[in-house]
Each structure stands twice: as structure tokens, then as C-alpha cells.
């Protein structure tokens, strides 16, 4: 039994090795093959030739286009899979490999089959794509081989399984030979450990990364336009290309599949089964077209994917890494010399530079940044109750609604002239308006905190499911009451909220909220919140004033949610009760559980990811809310603790001492422990 397993894995390893060889041969051999008839074309020429001026024989290009990228991408997928999901089983990794092969084979195979590559097609266009894939694959392979592991067998790399006990001993060496990677790793490990220790990305101070990002955004500002046109984007990719990615699928229509079985009074279907089959067939056709659609005006998904990867690698990832690596030592030294508050302030300032610089490119980015901030505030405030205190609040959007309405009513009533409340009650000079806005936001937060009392008081007596129901009821009551007050628009909503929220406001308030929650939960008083989660009876018996702690947790949580609501209202310009329904609460829950309970950094990252995800899924329309719940369900089944359950991301915020070899050793041990 064990031998079959070994053989399978030696085959897998062999495939990767062969693919690596193919890449190497391709890179070296391209000029040689292209030079069949006396031209002086080289590989670099081919890659750099974006205008399609070079004339390469179709036969050669075809063979190349199929063999090289397929091999390269297969190798890359396999290698990356080995890195990303070390614990998954053989069947899954085989499946991934097969799917990758089929997709890529299909993509490039069509050219071959349909003889699409003719004189008018720019061959180099495809060559370049293939070589960027090969680049990624090569990086994956290097990382795969180089990644130091404490115990390669136990770590469960699909390619490397532990040697069975009975097989160890005299035959161990030949067996090792059958696993190219085990062998390679054993040979390379002293060297790679040093390299990995030197790179030790998690030990680079955040400051260095931030400066890198600043450089990357500056690079994008200068070169982004030209580069994205080069890649065939109509404009600079707004959110790292994520919004462009699913655009090809926007025309898919699923509704025909089941509609024939559930006809509405106005439709008639003679043969529902056939109609459904026809819709399914059409959908399949559309899907394949959306995936590949070469030659058409709109590029297919695979092509967009490649271009997005290229863009992000060249504009963002590589510059950030280079700058971060270069600045590692100086920034560590600087941070160690500064007092901790100064270091933190410096990092926040640089972060603001990155955010505002990045967001200044277009209005859409600014808007997404504001949504991100609102979502971060929402997620961390909900995490305080759900993650740290272990309660289950499912109606968080209710507090957001209170904050949004109170803040909007105040700004509209007091400071501006509009149709709902008439002229401004106070005539404030323009320079004082921000103060007014701040006061309105705080008032919204306070009102939300008062609404939080509706949950806090029942929480003294009930917990668990019943408290969850209370929060739900509060959400419904808030939206229900708002629906019924006609003075503020009722169900039609409140129109004409001034557009006062901008990136600066959202940045400052988000940072303050994160700091406030961090300070709360790291104080002895705030740790009482966690004690309530862990064992409420023990907490109250050991002197924790549980009612007070719960009150504080609920008030702080609903206050921040209310502030986020106020900010949200002042970017939407139009609020109605429907915005703050149970769907919004569910979004907040998704962010908290995606990021992990009891983890601020997890919530922040999850909120950022979720905001981008929502934007990325926008082209899918209805399907968006099919995909998001699916992600949630899969997350709960396969990783119920979220990205960072009950722990924080380790960030080097304060600088680390650079002591030569010791640091390296420690770092490589860290990497090995991971």
C-alpha cells in the first residue's frame, strides 16, 4: 500500500521536474527555434514586442504556445498548490492539476486546433502571456523547493510524504531519489535556510512595506496608465484588477435553467425540459466564450487574469518587495531609536500617504476606500461583541441605522439647506462645518449606543441564542420604526444627505476606532470581556463586574457602529431603512467570521478583502449573493476559525534588533515552525 502512494508522489514530483526543465529549455531554446531562418529574434525581443511587429513562423509559434505555457502553468499550479495547501490530500491536488491542465490545454489548444494563429495575429501577444505564466511558475517552483520545513514528511506536502518506517534503512537513499523534491530540499536546505532567513518577510518592519507601497502607488501614478494600455486594459485597473476579472462573465444568464419549471402566469412553455436544456446549453456556450473569447473585442477571463497578474506583479508586488527588502535594516534601526508612540505615528502617517495617494487616482477608488473604512469599523465593533465577548449579535446593522439617521438628520437640519427640513437652522461659516459634522457623527454614535442599551440590559439575564434573537429584534424594530416616521421619509428614505465623508475623515475615524478597541481589549478591564466569553460564572465570582463590562462592550460596539453608519450615510447621500436590514447585518457577520473571532487584525483584513470582493463580484449581479454565501458556508466547514481565529497577525511595528547570524537562525526557525 505504502509503495503505491510513494509511486504516485514520485510521479507528481517528476511532472513538476519535467515542467521545470521545459521552462528552462524554452527560455534558452526560444531564440534557437525562432532563428530557424536567419532572423535575429531573441526571447527578450519576443517578450518586449508588444506591437506585434515581429514575424514568427506560425508553425513554431503554435507548437510553442501549446507546449511551453501548458507545461509551465501546470508546474506552477502544482508547485503553488503544494505551498498553499500543504495538508490536502492527493485526490484534491490531482484534481487541481487536472483542472489546470484542461483549462490551459483548452485555452491554448484552441489556437492549435482552429489554426487561429495566422499572419494577422500577433504571435508575441500569446508568447508574452505564456512567459509571464512561466515566470510565476518558476517562482512557485523555487519557493516550493526552497521553503525550509522542520519536518518535510509531517508538513504533508502532497509531493513529499514521510518515508514508511519499514522502507527506511538501507533502501532509504534510492527512495529519496524518487522524490526529486525531498532530495533537492535536503541538498539545498542549508543554503535556502539562509536565503529564507535573510528574506524573512514577516520580520521586515511594517514601515518598510508601507514605504514600498508608497513607492508602488507613485509608480502607478507615473506609469500605470501607459502600462495598463500596453496590457490591453481600457483604463488603469482600479482595485488591483479585481473588478476587471469577472467582467467577462457579466453576460451569463442563469435564469432560463429553472424558469421553465416554475412558469409565471405570463410565460408559457410547451416543453419545459427542452427549454431548460436549451438554456443550459446556451449558458455553457456563453461560459466557454466568456472564459476564452479570443479574437473578439472583449478579452476572455483567462486573458484578463494573466494581464491582471502581470499588472499587479510589476506595479505592486515586485516594487513593494524590493523596497521593503532594501529598507529593512534602516527602518528597523529607526524604529528602535524612536519612542513607540512616535514610531506608531510615523507608520500611521505613511499609511495615510499610501491610502490617499492610491485613492487619488479616481473617484471610484476613493469611494471604495470609504466603504472599506465603514466596513472595518463595522467589523471590529461587531467582533468586540461576537468575538471577544462570545455573544452572538445578528442585528448589528440596526445600530448603524440609528447612527446614520441621527447624524444625517442633524447635518441636514442644522447645517445645510435642502428640501426635507428646509433651510439650515444654524448659519455656520464654512470652516466650522467639519466641526459640525464631527458633532453630528458623535451624536449618531451616542444615539446608537443608547439603542445598544436595548441589547445590553437583556444581556444581563439572557445569553446565547436568546440574546441573538434580541439583537435581531432590535434590528427589525429600528428599521421598522424608521419605516414609519414620515417626517424623515419613512420607507422612501432620506434624500439629500451632504456628501461630507471623504478619505481623510474615514481614515482618521477608522484608525481611532481600531486603536480604541485595541486599547480596550488589551487592558485588564477589557480582558474581563474575554473572561465573560470563556466562563461568565467564573468571571463574576473572581471579581469581574460582569454587568458593567457587558454594558461597556455593548456601548462601545454600538457607538462605533453608529459612527460608521453616520459616515456611510454621508457618502451615500441617500439613506433608507432597507439599507440597514438583516442583509447588512449578515455582511458584518461574514466579515467577522472571515477574519476570525477575537482578532482585530483579522477583522480589518477581512473587511478590506470583503469590500474588494463585493466590488469584484459586482459584474455577476444576482450571482454575487450566491457566491458570497457559498464562500461563507465553505469557510465554516473547512476553516471555522476564520483567517486569524483568536490570534493577531504578527506585525513588526516596533522594529527588531539586527544581530547578524542569530537573527537569521531565529528567523529561519520561525519559518520552519510555520
Amino acid at each position: 500500500m505504502s509503495t503505491t502512494a510513494n509511486r504516485t508522489f514520485s510521479l507528481g514530483g517528476l511532472v513538476v521536474l519535467v515542467c521545470a526543465l521545459v521552462i528552462a529549455i524554452a527560455v534558452v531554446g526560444l531564440p534557437w527555434l525562432a532563428l530557424e531562418d536567419d532572423s535575429t529574434v531573441t526571447a527578450t525581443d519576443l517578450i518586449a514586442d508588444t506591437e506585434g511587429e515581429l514575424d514568427v513562423p506560425a508553425r513554431i509559434t503554435n507548437t510553442f504556445l501549446v507546449v511551453v505555457p501548458v507545461g509551465a502553468l501546470a508546474a506552477g499550479i502544482l508547485a503553488l498548490w503544494g505551498m498553499l495547501a500543504p495538508r490536502h490530500n492527493r485526490a484534491v491536488s490531482t484534481l487541481v492539476l487536472l483542472v489546470g491542465l484542461v483549462l490551459v490545454g483548452y485555452y491554448y489548444g484552441t489556437f492549435f486546433y482552429e489554426d487561429h494563429v495566422n499572419d494577422s495575429t500577433s504571435a508575441t501577444e500569446f508568447v508574452r502571456s505564456g512567459f509571464f505564466v512561466a515566470l510565476v511558475a518558476g517562482l512557485g517552483l523555487i519557493a516550493q523547493a526552497a521553503l525550509p520545513r522542520a519536518n518535510p514528511g509531517v508538513a504533508g506536502n502532497p509531493l513529499v510524504r514521510p518515508v514508511p518506517v519499514e522502507a527506511a534503512g538501507p533502501v532509504a537513499l534510492p527512495q529519496n531519489w524518487r522524490w526529486p523534491f525531498a532530495w533537492l530540499r535536503a541538498r539545498l536546505s542549508p543554503l535556502t535556510r539562509r536565503i529564507a532567513g535573510y528574506l524573512a518577510l514577516s520580520r521586515i518592519p511594517v514601515l518598510a512595506y508601507l514605504v514600498g507601497m508608497l513607492a508602488a502607488t507613485e509608480l502607478e501614478r507615473r506609469e500605470g496608465q501607459a502600462f495598463s494600455r500596453l496590457l490591453g486594459f481600457r483604463r488603469v485597473p482600479s482595485l488591483f484588477g479585481s473588478t476587471e476579472l469577472l467582467e467577462p462573465f457579466s453576460k451569463l444568464d442563469f435564469s432560463g435553467i429553472l424558469a421553465p419549471f416554475f412558469p409565471s402566469p405570463t410565460d408559457t412553455y410547451d416543453a419545459p425540459l427542452r427549454a431548460s436544456w436549451e438554456a443550459l446549453r446556451q449558458l455553457g456556450e456563453d461560459f466557454v466564450y466568456a472564459l476564452t473569447s479570443h479574437g473578439a473585442r472583449e478579452p476572455g477571463f483567462l486573458k484578463v487574469l494573466l494581464h491582471v497578474v502581470e499588472y499587479d506583479l510589476i506595479i505592486f508586488i515586485i516594487p513593494v518587495l524590493i523596497v521593503a527588502l532594501l529598507l529593512r535594516k534602516p527602518s528597523n534601526a529607526l524604529l528602535l531609536r524612536l519612542p513607540s508612540w512616535a514610531g506608531l505615528t510615523l507608520q500611521i502617517v505613511v499609511l495615510y500617504g499610501v491610502v490617499s495617494h492610491w485613492g487619488a487616482l479616481n473617484d471610484y477608488r476613493g469611494l471604495v476606500l470609504i466603504y472599506m473604512g465603514v466596513n472595518i469599523m463595522l467589523a471590529i465593533s461587531l467582533n468586540l461583541v461576537n468575538g471577544y465577548m462570545g455573544e452572538f449579535s445578528v442585528g448589528h446593522a440596526g445600530f448603524m441605522a440609528v447612527g446614520a439617521y441621527v447624524a444625517s438628520i442633524l447635518t441636514m437640519w442644522l447645517f445645510i439647506d435642502e428640501r426635507v427640513f428646509g433651510d439650515a437652522v444654524l448659519s455656520v461659516p464654512d470652516w466650522a462645518l467639519p466641526i459640525g459634522f464631527l458633532i453630528a457623527l458623535i451624536a449618531g454614535g451616542v444615539a446608537a449606543a443608547l439603542a445598544g442599551l436595548l441589547v445590553a440590559f437583556p444581556s444581563f439575564r439572557t445569553r446565547g441564542d436568546y440574546l441573538a434573537i434580541v439583537t435581531l429584534a432590535v434590528n427589525f424594530i429600528v428599521t421598522g420604526v424608521l419605516n414609519n416616521i414620515s417626517a424623515i421619509g419613512g420607507a422612501r428614505g432620506l434624500n439629500g444627505v451632504p456628501l461630507w465623508t471623504n478619505v481623510r475623515w474615514i481614515f482618521v475615524l477608522t484608525i481611532l476606532s481600531v486603536l480604541a478597541i485595541h486599547h480596550l481589549v488589551s487592558s485588564t478591564f477589557g480582558k474581563g470581556i474575554v473572561a465573560i466569553r470563556e466562563d461568565e460564572i467564573a468571571a463574576e465570582q473572581m471579581g469581574v463586574h460582569t454587568r458593567r463590562v457587558k454594558l461597556v462592550a455593548f456601548l462601545v460596539s454600538s457607538f462605533i457602529a453608529g459612527m460608521s453608519g453616520g459616515l456611510f450615510a454621508h457618502v451615500l447621500a441617500y439613506v433608507n431603512p432597507g439599507v440597514f436590514g438583516i442583509l447588512k447585518s449578515t455582511e458584518a457577520l461574514v466579515m467577522v467570521y472571515l477574519g476570525g473571532m477575537g482578532s482585530i487584525s483579522g477583522s480589518v483584513i477581512a473587511a478590506v478583502l470583503f469590500t474588494i470582493l463585493i466590488e469584484a463580484f459586482r459584474p455577476l449581479a444576482v450571482l454575487k449573493w450566491v457566491v458570497i454565501p457559498l464562500i461563507l458556508i465553505l469557510l465554516m466547514i473547512y476553516r471555522p476559525q476564520g483567517l486569524f481565529g483568536f490570534r493577531e497577525m504578527t506585525l513588526n511595528l516596533k522594529g527588531l534588533k539586527e544581530d547578524g547570524p542569530d537573527v537569521l537562525k531565529e528567523a529561519s526557525d520561525d519559518a520552519a515552525a510555520d
Partner: protein
């Protein structure tokens, strides 16, 4: 007086519909301690399957009802097997969140796969007749709904109280670790619970579609939450409580606008009032009308 009787019948109709759906919430909670937030959307699927039976297959009322109950029941069992069972050892929150996700998946999946046109049952499904009893107009639809709901409830009550299976269900809610040791398969009992609960939701869905003939993929959202309130008000986990809570909610929702208009409470207030009632009951009697508190041991 006629007005009152008229409203009374209306309330009875709405209340029995809520009760039918609330039963599913409460049964699943009783056995798994899981708030099955997908239940309202299962109700929607049941109503849609009624369209499938009555229009596409051209079946009369009763076979459509049975078909929908069976298919929806199987869907419920399938959902439990695929989405909830892998999480039986996980924290209860994960399961509740999964349930929220399944609910969203069902309603949006339905929307994506069938389009947004509203559906309704054919005219011939139930021929409406209106009887005039002492000045009160009562349609046969209302009578059918009330009687069917009562019959289904009685059937369920008998199953839970009198049969071996029902006993096992009640036993699991007390101790889910001991019951398998007594030779009862936990999985089978849970599947049966889902089968019955979602089957009743399907019946509720079809009856709802008959009474209020606009079906869309989001219909389960509102009704589902309302039925959930009913289950909690009655004391979640207790099937008599679900019936009582459903009826209570039905009466509130009908009588508040019926008599509240004169004192300035319009019908749009019934949602906040229903949820306000829920809040008050939870604060005053946290375990609902029929629920029994479980003392936490120090």
C-alpha cells in the same frame, strides 16, 4: 360584531400559517439546538414547488401539496446532510452562520435560476367560494387553510408524543450523547426531524401562496423571520409553543391594524409591534411562553 368575527377568521388563517412554519424552527431547535435561519427560504422553495406541481405537471391541489411536501422535505434532509452535519462537532455559532448562508444561497440561487417574474397558482387550483354566514363572508380557502393546518399540527403532535420516533426526538433534545448509546441512530432522528419540519414549511408555503397569491424568491425572508418570532415567543423547542406563538402573532398582526387605525396606528406598524412584543417577552420571560429554563450549574 361581524367585523370582529371577520377579523378573527383572518387572524386564525394568518396565525395557522405562521404556526405551520414556526413548527419547523422549533423542531430543529429542539433536536439540534440550531436556529435554522434557512427555514424561511425552505418555505419559499415549498411554495415554488407548488407552482411546479400545479402548472408544469398540471396536478390538482392535494397531489401538489403532497409532492411539494415530499420534495421539500428531501431538500431539508439534503441541506442538513451537506451543510450542517459536517459541523455537528463544531461550535454552534458556525452552524448558525452556515444556516444564514444556506438561506441566502437558496433565495438568491432561486432568483438567479428562475428569474424575477412573480409567480402564482392557476385559477383552477382551488376554486374560491365565499359563504355568507350571518353577515360574515368566509371563503372556502380560509376554511381549508385553518382546517389543514390544524390537521397537520395534530398529526405532528401525535407523531412526537405517541410514536417511538417522536420519543427518540424528544430524548435527543435532552441528551444527544446518551441517545445513540440506547441504540437509536442520531442521524436518522435528525433527518426525520428535518423531513417533518421542512415538509410542514412546504405545506405552509403552498397555503400561503393560495391565500396571498404573489410568490417571489424573497417571500421567505419576511415570513420566515415572523415565524421565527412566533417560535421564540412560544418558547423555542416546544411544538405547542410554536402553535400558540404563531396564533398569537397572527392575532396581533390582524387586530393591530384592524382596530389601531382609529387611534393612529397604521398597518405598517405591525412589524415593529411584533418584534417589540418579542423583545418584551424575551426580557420578561426569557424562555418564551412554554420554554423551561435550564439552570446553569456553578
Amino acid at each position: 360584531m361581524e367585523f370582529f368575527v371577520q377579523q378573527f377568521v383572518n387572524a386564525l388563517q394568518l396565525g395557522s400559517l405562521y404556526a405551520l412554519i414556526a413548527l419547523g424552527y422549533t423542531m430543529v431547535y429542539g433536536v439540534l439546538l440550531l436556529i435554522n435561519f434557512a427555514h424561511g427560504d425552505i418555505f419559499m422553495v415549498g411554495a415554488f414547488l407548488g407552482v411546479f406541481g400545479s402548472i408544469t405537471l398540471d396536478l390538482p391541489f392535494v397531489p401538489t401539496l403532497v409532492l411539494s411536501m415530499v420534495l421539500t422535505g428531501l431538500l431539508g434532509v439534503g441541506i442538513e446532510r451537506v451543510a450542517y452535519k459536517p459541523l455537528r462537532q463544531a461550535s454552534r455559532l458556525s452552524v448558525v452562520i452556515t444556516a444564514l448562508g444556506v438561506g441566502l444561497l437558496l433565495e438568491n440561487g432561486m432568483l438567479a435560476l428562475t428569474g424575477a417574474n412573480p409567480r402564482s397558482y392557476p385559477q383552477t387550483f382551488i376554486t374560491t367560494r365565499v359563504y355568507d354566514i350571518g353577515g360574515v363572508a368566509i371563503s372556502n380557502v380560509k376554511i381549508i387553510i385553518i382546517v389543514l393546518a390544524a390537521l397537520l399540527f395534530a398529526g405532528l403532535y401525535t407523531i412526537v408524543q405517541r410514536t417511538k420516533w417522536g420519543m427518540a426526538m424528544r430524548a435527543i433534545s435532552y441528551d444527544k450523547f446518551a441517545v445513540p448509546l440506547m441504540g437509536v441512530s442520531q442521524d436518522q432522528i435528525i433527518s426525520l426531524t428535518f423531513l417533518l419540519g421542512t415538509g410542514l414549511a412546504a405545506a405552509g408555503g403552498i397555503l400561503w401562496g393560495v391565500a396571498f397569491p404573489v410568490l417571489n424568491p424573497y417571500m421567505g425572508l419576511r415570513v420566515g423571520w415572523k415565524a421565527f418570532v412566533a417560535a421564540v415567543v412560544g418558547g423555542i423547542g416546544d411544538i405547542r409553543g410554536a402553535a400558540a406563538g404563531g396564533l398569537l402573532l397572527g392575532f396581533i398582526e390582524i387586530f393591530v391594524p384592524a382596530y389601531g387605525d382609529s387611534i393612529g396606528i397604521s398597518s405598517t406598524w405591525r412589524d415593529p409591534i411584533a418584534f417589540g412584543l418579542l423583545l418584551i417577552i424575551l426580557v420578561v420571560r426569557p424562555t418564551g411562553l412554554f420554554g423551561v429554563a435550564r439552570r446553569q450549574k456553578v
